[in-house]
Each structure stands twice: as structure tokens, then as C-alpha cells.
Symmetry: C2
Subunit: 243 residues, 2 copies
């Protein structure tokens, strides 16, 4: 084994492979058992990533998919007017880079929000890997199909909602994703800044701040520094509905 996570700090939260978005492919590849830490490996597991490090930049040729093992990332793209916008957050188990499959280049920059680790699948080496092509393709189809579903849900809900609804939905989405990946559902680390959240949700950072304190006053959440506790999930759920 060559796991170099370093810290045996028990606060490091990792997804189990069977809860990860890349799992369909890893399964076909036998979890890369025979090629761990080889530089030319198709699947490289648990690569450490420093806080602030960049996985890839826009217009860089597509060469790999990433799955987050631990930590978190943000996706940033620069729009036509030159402004930076956060276009996504990624948590353990999430899949990064799927747009590159059709585009052949990445379309945004992805930056680590904290000390993290990723599994890296070198797609360009996949076809020469001697694996069963049909199974690989089937796995890719499952993953892409899932991606389409999730993206569409995000889109259609955010556009129609006001500030409170967006923020309630944002918190619940973090919470649900975390739970789905076998991690604590009601205790979240907001590793991104308020400005990042605001940019992602299309709000001013002052609004994010105000709504978060409002939610605290209502007892929906507890927030201390960057640790967010979901105290009343049903209440938050209702907050996403009423207008």
C-alpha cells in the first residue's frame, strides 16, 4: 500500500469507495489494485491536494476525471465581462471534470478549499488499459446520466427562488449530499467563504450573511465559525417552498 494521506488525524472525513460518484468506473477497474502509485496508472487513488491548489484551469486539454476522497473544492469561471463567478462546490464523493468528456477541454478552474485528497482517473489511458471496453462505457454512461439529472435539478430550482429559499436549499443540498456519501448529515463544514456562497447563489455577500443570522435566530441552524449544524431540517425544507 502507498496511502500517503499523512495525517492520521481522526477528524479527516473520507468517503467510502462504494459511496463515491466515480465508483462505477473504479469497480470495473478493480479499484486499481495493481497499479497504486504508478505514475502511468489509469487510476491514482488518494492523491493529496494542498489548500488553494488548482486541479485544472479553463481551456486546459481534458485528460482526467477526479473524484474527491476528502476535503472540498470550488469551481470558478470567468464570464464575458471578466468577473469571476463560483459555478459549483464539490464535496467528498463528487465527480469533477465531466464537462471535459464532450468538450475536450475543461471549462472552469477547480481549486481546493482546504487540505484535500482526490482520486484521479486518466481517461486518455483508459482505452489502452486492456479493460473490458463495454463495461467501461456502461459505467461512464451511468455516471454521465446521473450528472445530467443532478445538474438539471440545481438549475431549475435556483432560478425561481428568492434569497431565503436559495440559501435554505443550498444548506439542505450540502446536508443531503453529505449524508448520501455516508458522512455526517447535520454537521457541515462551510469551507467556502460567504462571498463564494453569494457568488454561487447569485446574491450579495451581505444578503448571505443576513439570511444566515436570520436562520440562526429562527433556530433552523447553528453556526459557529465555519461549522454549521442543521437543527431543524423540516423547517429548512419549508423555507425552500414558501414565497
Amino acid at each position: 500500500m502507498c496511502e500517503s494521506t499523512g495525517a492520521d488525524d481522526n477528524t479527516v472525513l473520507e468517503v467510502a469507495c462504494h459511496d463515491c460518484g466515480l465508483d462505477p468506473l473504479c469497480e470495473v477497474l478493480g479499484y486499481g489494485k495493481h497499479e497504486l502509485c504508478e505514475t502511468d496508472a489509469v487510476l491514482m487513488r488518494r492523491q493529496p491536494v494542498q489548500r488553494g491548489a488548482v486541479l485544472f484551469r479553463p481551456d486546459q486539454p481534458f485528460y482526467a476525471l477526479f473524484a474527491i476522497k476528502s476535503g472540498s473544492f470550488k469551481a470558478v469561471s470567468v464570464d464575458l465581462s471578466g468577473k469571476e463567478r463560483v459555478v459549483g462546490f464539490f464535496l467528498p464523493g463528487d465527480l469533477i471534470g465531466t464537462e471535459g468528456i464532450a468538450n475536450h477541454v475543461y471549462s472552469y478552474a477547480v481549486r481546493a478549499l482546504e487540505e484535500s485528497s482526490v482520486c484521479k482517473l486518466a481517461v486518455n489511458r483508459l482505452l489502452n488499459s486492456g479493460q473490458d471496453t463495454e463495461k467501461l462505457q456502461a459505467a461512464l454512461i451511468r455516471m454521465l446520466g446521473q450528472e445530467v439529472v443532478v445538474n438539471h435539478l440545481v438549475t431549475t430550482s435556483l432560478i425561481q427562488q428568492n434569497a431565503e429559499q436559495r440559501i435554505a436549499a443550498f444548506i439542505l443540498s450540502l446536508s443531503k449530499r453529505s449524508g448520501l456519501r455516508g458522512m455526517p448529515q447535520y454537521q457541515l463544514i462551510l469551507s467556502m467563504s460567504r462571498s463564494d456562497i453569494a457568488s454561487y447563489l447569485g446574491l450579495a455577500r451581505e444578503t448571505v450573511s443576513r439570511v444566515l443570522t436570520k436562520f440562526q435566530n429562527y433556530g433552523l441552524i447553528g453556526l459557529r465559525k465555519h461549522v454549521l449544524k442543521v437543527l431543524n431540517p423540516e423547517g429548512l425544507e419549508k423555507a425552500t417552498i414558501f414565497r
Copy 2:
């Protein structure tokens, strides 16, 4: 041949197959040459659809992908609060139903906005079709990958924009899609109602109305009934940027 488009009306605008989103699959299937109009066919081409007719409803089991040959459709879903929301418009060449691939059910209703025709690919019959599975899968991957790219673009842009920017971007997106599919780029038919546009963009229908007249006054577009002419594409492009 058994093309039953009926009307030889030369105003009916159709995409050519090589401009269609379903083409990667149709190509593999040899465009269904040998099975036109068979009821158990894998690929059924140019099925006529009445104005107002429904292709599928939410929660209905996934069984087919559709590609629009002519006409237009809207996707409608009902949110948690019970309100109907337009979540997408489809033009000739667009692919409908991709979310069903992973979900196994459709997630919204799709309704024809006018007299239309579609090509229908019975996915459940695809695997038993005796075709080369590897090629079929590769085609599906290309299509899904494309879908991921397009969806993400739509999402991230709409959320950050004000009313004028959204409407300018909406018009340009219709225009570009139309041009991309080999159809007139600067003369569009707005087959959907103002309310539909408003619902899709997350605006009030009065706002859509006001902005459209503003754009007319600025000479960016010409609008008579449901025929929209893009008079100044660069101007519209700028309108998507400045805030």
C-alpha cells in the same frame, strides 16, 4: 418510404439529420432505413405530434429518447409548492428525455407548442437490436457529455443575470441553436407564450413584455406577433454583459 408529414407546406422547417442531437445514435443505427414505420422499430422517424400533445409525463417509466425534427416543445415540472414551472424549451435537433437514462423515469412533462414531428428512439429495444453495443455506447456517451456541457452553461449564466441580461441571453440562445442546426439564425418563431418565457427565466410576464418592447425601441430586435427578428446581434451580446 412512409413519411407522413402530411403538409408539403414549404414553411415547415426541419433539421437535417447531420445537424441533430440524436445523430450519433442514428448513424450507428444506419438511420433505421430498414425499419421505418414498423411498430416495434428501435428508431421511428418523423412521427407527427399535434399541438398541445404530450410526449411523456413525470414519473412515467423511461422508454425512449426523442429528437425534434420540426416544431417546438416545452418541458414543464411541478415544484414542491405545487406550482407549474417551465424548465426548458426544445427546438428542432434538440434531444429530449436524457434525464430518464439514469433516473429510469421522466422528470417533467413535455408538450408540443405547435404542430411538430419527432424521431423516437426506443432505448429499451436498443440492446436487443443486434447492433454493435460498443458503438452504441460510444454514441450515447457523446450525447450525454454534450448534454452536461449545455446544461451547465445555461445554469451558471441565468442565475447571475438581471432581467435584461436573461432575456437577451435567451434570445441569443434560441438564435444560436437555430443557426447551429442549419436553420435561420436571425428570424425566429416564438412559439411559446410570454408567460412560458417568464416562467422559464424566473421573471414576471410583465417584465418580459417590458424588456421586449425596450429591446425593440433600441433597435436590437423586431417583433411582430410571434415572429422575432434579431436586428443587432452584437447589441444583444453586449446586453448580456453590462450590469
